[in-house]
């Protein structure tokens, strides 16, 4: 909603129309998986009392992340700048910050290359 509000305020170019709009929104939903599940895993590791932690549950949350990035590796992201790719960028940045040991770049050269360029923005 914040994204949509700012996009409307700023002239409206991040959502697209027609088929492109649904692609962008679908990718944004996928990108949300780079932040929601790992945040839950982080809370499990740093907030939940140690005796109550559930390793299988945390592993499952992180599998959502790796599956999402594997899916992104099959995409041609090019120079897209839309709600989908912005969500991807924010999610990958969060993973670098909180889950550096995940080493998401390993085995995903296309996403790694795309992110290296995207992370240089704004130009």
């Amino acid at each position: 909603m914040i994204f949509e509000y700012l996009d409307d305020l700023g002239g409206g170019r991040f959502f697209g129309t027609g088929t492109e709009r649904w692609r962008n929104l679908t990718d944004a939903a996928l990108g949300d998986g780079l932040m929601g599940p790992p945040l839950l895993a982080r809370y499990e590791a740093v907030l939940r009392p140690e005796s109550l932690r559930w390793a299988d549950w945390s592993r499952g949350q992180i599998e959502k992340v790796t599956d999402a990035i594997d899916s992104m590796e099959r995409m041609d992201l090019g120079s897209r700048l839309d709600i989908g790719t912005v969500t991807f960028g924010c999610g990958l940045g969060y993973l670098d910050f909180r889950f550096p040991d995940l080493d998401w770049r390993s085995g995903r050269p296309r996403v790694a290359s795309w992110y290296a360029d995207f992370a240089q923005r704004p130009r």
């Binding site: 509000y5 700023g10 944004a28 912005v86």
Partner: protein
């Protein structure tokens, strides 16, 4: 903020301190967003936007 920067709106946005968490829930956020999560965005004269999308 990525979108704000891309659209040249960043200098119109004031950042406020907060300490969101699922157990110790931040009362200042909850004034604007009952869910108590960040990001929470509100305008001086318009809607409060309570989810990032």
């Amino acid at each position: 903020m990525v979108v704000a920067h891309e659209l040249g709106l960043a200098d119109r946005i004031e950042r406020l301190p907060s300490a969101a968490g699922p157990v110790q829930r931040d009362a200042t956020i909850r004034q604007h967003n009952p869910i108590g999560q960040v990001p929470t965005f509100f305008t001086d004269d318009g809607p409060s936007c309570t989810t990032a999308e």
